[in-house]
Symmetry: C2
Subunit: 165 residues, 2 copies
DNA sequence: CCCATTTATTTCAAGCTTAAAACTTTTTTG
DNA sequence: CAAAAAAGTTTTAAGCTTGAAATAAATGGG
């Protein structure tokens, strides 16, 4: 005979589908609330949008710049999406495109000085918003959550690899 | 004198900003990956979109229907957004709008039989996708994550209340 | 070398999303 | 009770996003 049902979960088996669904819903709700807060701040204090901030943040992280494809994969958005965002940010003078000399299909995108300066201010404000939003978690909880989300991230990657076959 | 720095975090103080930022980035990445998986499945197997699925799921959860405003708040999207989604789903025959008799400003939206049937199929598939994506978490980890995200959700609500003042 | 394939990007049409303004109906209040 | 305020929704303009098709450049096997 198998273990009684109330024990199975405690023995490291898979959670039931209902738990997984609740988990997903809660994760999504949290992400949406945080996004809404950040979007609001960006619009009110910097008159810009979350997707543009995301592009600037990605380029700030990679000082040598990124190709359009790398940027699109890093941001988890489509190619065409990045094209539009980059065009608008270029018009605003925050980023510049450099055609790669060795591969003429490819374009490299970098922050301009103006872009780096603007982003610095936004990043500082952003950090404050996030600290406020996460203020209800102590350090131990934050570490635990970080680790569990790391496990989830690995799980998602594994599922994707399996799906690709 | 205060505690040495390496102890502070362990004593239940607030995490540093860097941890919070990493936490937020990881949360967002997980949410985006799961969304991408679900969106893909919905498009391939049901020729529909994630926002439409979200509307159907909300209405399935509330059998008496929801007003436009309730729906918009439940989904965490703008009023105008819901108007468009509902219009398209109504055209597809999945939902119906009923003008409220007691408050003529208000419209109540419900699933049709066809909509409920279509959603049942989608929900079953959705459950399978989520189980696959979360397969790397055991039951204990899922419970922990659920609880930590609950704490985060409370923290977000508290920050919002404070911000509103 | 050449042509088929792959890779990097842009374009396109459709749909999603927001914030703000406008519109309608209800509620409050002077 | 009339005017003002509030509440529920839609409209609008701008921007975001996707998936698919198109374009252009590099690569690679015959």
């Amino acid at each position: 005979m198998s273990e009684p049902a109330y024990l199975i979960e405690k023995l490291g088996g898979a959670p039931d589908s209902k738990t997984n669904l609740r988990l997903w819903l809660r994760l999504l709700t949290c992400a949406h609330h945080i996004e809404a807060g950040v979007r609001d701040g960006l619009r009110r204090e910097f008159d810009t949008t979350l997707p543009r901030f995301d592009v600037l943040a990605a380029l700030d992280r990679f000082p040598d710049g990124l190709t359009m494809g790398e940027l699109s994969r890093w941001l988890l958005v489509s190619n065409g999406n990045v094209t539009g965002l980059v065009t608008r940010l270029e018009t605003e003078g925050f980023i510049e495109k450099v055609r790669s000399p060795e591969d003429r299909r490819s374009t490299r995108v970098k922050l301009t000085k103006a872009g780096a300066g603007a982003f610095a201010g936004m990043a500082k404000a952003h950090e404050g918003w996030i600290d406020q939003l996460f203020a209800g978690l102590d350090a131990e909880q934050a570490d635990q959550l970080l680790e569990l989300l790391g496990t989830l991230k690995d799980s998602l990657a594994a599922a994707k690899r399996q799906d690709a076959q």
